[in-house]
């Protein structure tokens, strides 16, 4: 019995000694363990595993030292070093992450710039094509303008020639109402008749040529005039019929019928008094008024 009691006491003493030796872990070791627990599941485990492993080896030494000798200075030194190495592993992990961010940003920047360069080149190519098209159009327009200019010069030359020819057979005068071509009635018609004389036709042919050479937008009026001999009842229709005869002839010889009209003025607009035969002959006339260009009078 005594032996058993002694044995219990010895056991209790041993346990007491063991318990006494198993002191509380130093703060440095606890912190290092906690840091390792956090780092081993964080960024360091992924990006700096080697540094984390180095820290773990030192932490293991601290744990071994503590298990074997308790809270010693050596244990604290290892814990301290382990803690610093764990912090360094985290710092290097964050740095590595930043480096990856830089690399990705640079790579993305290159992609964006490449894309922008491609877009710019495409836009440049399009602009060049547009420029080529515009140059072609411009050349075409210049060619058309030159053609039109030549046509215009030709038309003007033709008009000048026609007007010169016309001046030999008719009086031509520029008035406010337009260019007035006056043909003597006696050259065109027999007395009191409105059928054109054969000799008149040659002259009207020249008139037709001159009228066709005019600008296409100019309207024309054929006015028939008589002297004051006879009554208006006779003179008015006679002047209209004569104007119509001239208009019809001109239309039949190429003048645009939509642009030429006829009107009978009777004896209402003499150019000289009707006192003598010569004056009355002057008053018997047909006037063709070429009105000013619609384009230039707008």
């Amino acid at each position: 019995m005594k032996t058993r009691i002694e044995s219990l006491i010895a056991t209790a003493t041993f346990v007491g000694l063991i318990t006494g030796c198993a002191t509380t872990a130093p703060t440095q070791l606890v912190e290092a363990r906690n840091s390792y627990a956090a780092s081993s599941t964080g960024l360091a485990a992924k990006l700096t595993p080697t540094e984390l492993y180095d820290a773990k080896k030192v932490l293991d030494k601290a744990n071994t030292e503590f298990a074997q000798h308790g809270d010693t200075l050596v244990c604290r030194d290892y814990s301290y070093i382990a803690q610093r190495k764990l912090e360094l592993a985290d710092v290097k992990a964050r740095t590595e992450q930043d480096r990856q961010t830089i690399a990705e940003a640079v790579k993305a920047g290159v992609v964006v710039r490449d894309s922008q360069v491609k877009s710019s080149r495409a836009a440049l190519a399009t602009t060049r094509e547009q420029l080529k098209d515009e140059r072609r159009e411009s050349a075409k327009t210049a060619e058309q303008l030159e053609t039109e200019k030549q046509a215009r010069l030709t038309a003007e030359a033709k008009l000048a020639g026609a007007m010169k020819d016309l001046a030999a057979i008719a009086a031509i005068k520029e008035e406010a109402r337009g260019l007035v071509i006056t043909l003597s009635g006696s050259v065109l018609f027999a007395s009191n008749k409105f059928a054109l004389l054969n000799t008149a036709m040659t002259k009207l042919d020249q008139v037709a040529v001159a009228l066709q050479a005019q600008d296409s937008d100019r309207r024309m009026i054929v006015e028939g005039h008589t002297d004051s001999q006879g009554s208006d009842r006779i003179n008015q229709p006679l002047s209209l019929n004569r104007a119509n005869a001239v208009r019809d002839y001109l239309v039949n010889h190429g003048v645009d019928g939509n642009k030429i009209s006829a009107v009978g003025m009777g004896s209402s607009r003499p150019i000289v008094d009707n006192k003598n035969a010569e004056n009355r002959a002057d008053n018997r006339r047909v006037e063709i008024i070429i009105q000013p260009s619609q384009l230039t009078t707008r």
């Binding site: 030292e65 301290y80 740095t95 710039r113 922008q116």
Partner: protein, 115 residues
Amino acid sequence: MKNLMMSLAVLGLGACASAPISPDRLEHSEESIRGAEEIGALNVPAAKLHLQLAKDQTETANKMASQGDERAILVMARAESDAELALGLAREVAVHSDALKATEDLKAVRARGNP
């Protein structure tokens, strides 16, 4: 003593019987401190603290070594770990600044592409 020597071996630290700190060891520690200072550790508060700890512990380790204290080599290892951490912290600040700039530059490039 045997345990300490074995432990130091894990850290890659060699020690003779009188536990002197080898010139190479001291030089390595001083290089780490200089490197940290060169990349601007003194301008980063946390790095500056660890740099100071490294300097103080280096001095302590040298004194301990001169007195034949075996623990000198572990204190020197502590100094090195502080110096390396200071270096890492200073480098982190510089790289982080570059990362922010790279991100801003990318934003600017993208913005230029999409006016």
